[in-house]
Amino acid sequence: MNKSRTALIVDDDVEFLATIAELVGALGYATVTAETLSAAKRIIDRQNFDHILLDLMLPDGSGLEFLDELAPSSSTPTTVTIITGHPAIRNSIKRIYGPNINYLVKPIALGDLKRILHMGGHDQDEDKPLHLQQHYGSLIGVSAAMQSVYEAIEKVAKVSVNVMLIGESGVGKELVAQAIHAASGRSGRFVPSNCGAFNRELIGSELFGHEKGAFTGASARKMGVFEQAAGGTLFLDEITEMPLELQPNLLRVIEAKNFVRLGGAAPIDVGCRIVSATNRSEQEMAEENLLREDLLYRLAAFPLVIPPLRERHEDVGLLTEFFLAEFNEEYGTELQCGKSTMERLQEYDWPGNVRELRHTIHRAYIMSTDGKELALPAKLGAPFTSDDPAIIDRTLHAGQTIEEVERNLIRITLDRHGGNKKQAATVLGISLKTLYNRLKSYEPESYHLESETESTQ
């Protein structure tokens, strides 16, 4: 089976990060990298890792903060290795966090890295029942629909073609992209980037990097995502959000197979596979002219449709068990999912797909106070998956109330940011507290307790 171990690497120096990720990748790990504490936190919210390599000094805080978040779930099989330039730190941390933490002192020798990665490499799946094991380290499901996804991943992993993932919000497109990267055995990094989040003026620099002095404010050379993904996989999420006038740049790079950093002269070869993703259907893309046709053909050499959860109902049970096991492990509890609860989960349609299911289990987990059985709210459905057409409608027209438009805007902003409330609040230009208050006003009564717990964090 083509399943590799996973490692999260957190360091703020991009060049160092790219190198260590390539080394760890060459030692048989599928790697995910983060440059900031907040990015790392977002990643571990979604995915478990066999190993976390952590720099202590990060631009937005100390790696120790991150350790504190991991610490409560001491049963977690994740091995943590601290990367530090100061050997003296070692002893003080050892006193606080005990012997279960490894150290690498910079400069790092390959021998030390190998030793750390192979020791205590307690396999994540060892103590999990067979059916809960993840395919390619990230995917869950035994349904026929998922079997054909696995087959497609297996086939496409071996050839170096660009893949376009097509699927609704919340189906796990980024996880499939990671799976393709893991199955391909590429030594470079998996570099996720969101085309919808790029700054219009800086998109060229984000993609291709820039030389020092290329424009006002370019105080140092910067690697773009194409360069960071050298030898690996570049994941371009929400590709259809890329402004039409900027698409020719991307097309030219894909056709020429090389690019030049802004302000630079030497062309650099494109050494990565591009996996792009969209939540629009192929028909929508064509009809609404979201993507230039020539670019579409280049990016979608291999289109892969990820099925919505309602087309693989038989996986709801597995996913529920998986998420519940995760929360149980995280909080040290043994909550079970009763038969009738499971039936209700399986009957529901999940318009928000696996993401909605995970949120629902999380909410229910927090609401379940008896410590034994998972208790669902009286009505299933996230606050935003209303059937009210005014809420579903994304367009603006006379006749809508301010409240409807506001609610819609909040919903699509949250969607865009993968449910990250802090980011959404920043983009919306309101305080996090205001966002929580708005969300709370949209929720059915039974959810109130949970949002209060969340807002105190």
């Binding site: 120096d13 060049e15 160092f16 190198t19 260590i20 390539e22 080394l23 060459a26 330039g85 910079k106 400069p107 790092i108 020798a109 390959l110 890295l113 050379r221 050298a230 030898g231 070869d269």
Partner: protein, 73 residues
């Protein structure tokens, strides 16, 4: 004085950072050679080392300048 010490500390950190990357990139090169890679891939690794060497040299120059200015005061 304390300010100078902190600033020197910062400069030293800025020098150490590319050095650490150089060392790690060289380890990567060794591993790639052991895995039988040659040509373009190795050239690219050498290029990365050279870039970091330049970054290191820049930082040393900045430290020199800082120390000269400071001792003139």
């Amino acid at each position: 004085m304390i300010e100078t010490a902190t600033a020197v500390e910062q400069h030293l950190h800025n020098i150490r950072t590319p050095l650490n990357t150089i060392s790690l990139t060289a380890e990567l090169g060794k591993l790639r050679i052991a895995q039988g890679e040659s040509g373009e891939r190795l050239e690219e690794i050498m290029e990365r080392i050279l870039t970091q060497c330049a970054r290191c040299a820049d930082q040393i120059k900045e430290l020199e300048e800082f120390l000269t200015i400071d001792s003139n005061c």
